[in-house]
Symmetry: C2
Subunit: 105 residues, 2 copies
């Protein structure tokens, strides 16, 4: 019986594409460099930099990947592309989880 | 004296690049087509589409212009580029004013 439960849990995790794996605490730890523009909790005080707090995690992930993968060239891309360059998919998922869970102010 | 006051007002408006000219009501009137993805008040219920409510107007303007001007190709660009294509700078400023003034939920 234990094996079935274990197998189901692992299969569920794999099938979810690791979506459940996002770790907001790890995202917070990774967010230090982002705070300069986006604010420590994602409530940017600079009009040119977006507020990330309370934004959809899925959208945040897609945006970071678009910057990382060179699919955004205008606006803040000159700043964001190098920032995103070194991020892994897991880093991006964790950062997105962290900011999406912050209260928008 | 009246001429000086008038001149100062016009000069101020011109120097501000028309920034004061943004009209949130006109933005709301223009936002009908945006509501399908972003929600009537900018609080998108679809994780792939960003919440616009309470976002910085300056950032919203830069994003819409980046889509309009082909500087964003990844993520939602396939949807957003045609949407933004027909927007004038004034439309964009008005839409940004409208959404930035909405309460984030």
């Amino acid at each position: 019986m234990r094996k079935i439960v274990l197998f189901t849990a692992v299969a569920g995790l794999l099938m979810s594409g690791g979506a459940m794996a996002a770790d907001a605490a790890a995202g917070k730890a990774k967010s230090g460099v982002c705070a300069a523009c986006h604010g420590a909790d994602g409530n940017s005080m600079v009009p040119m930099y977006p507020k990330l707090a309370g934004q959809h995690a899925t959208y945040l992930e897609a945006s970071m990947k678009a910057y990382r993968d060179g699919q955004r060239t205008g606006g803040n891309a000159a700043i964001m592309a190098p920032m995103a360059k070194g991020l892994s998919d897991a880093d991006i998922a964790n950062l997105a989880a962290y900011y999406s869970q912050q209260a928008h102010k």
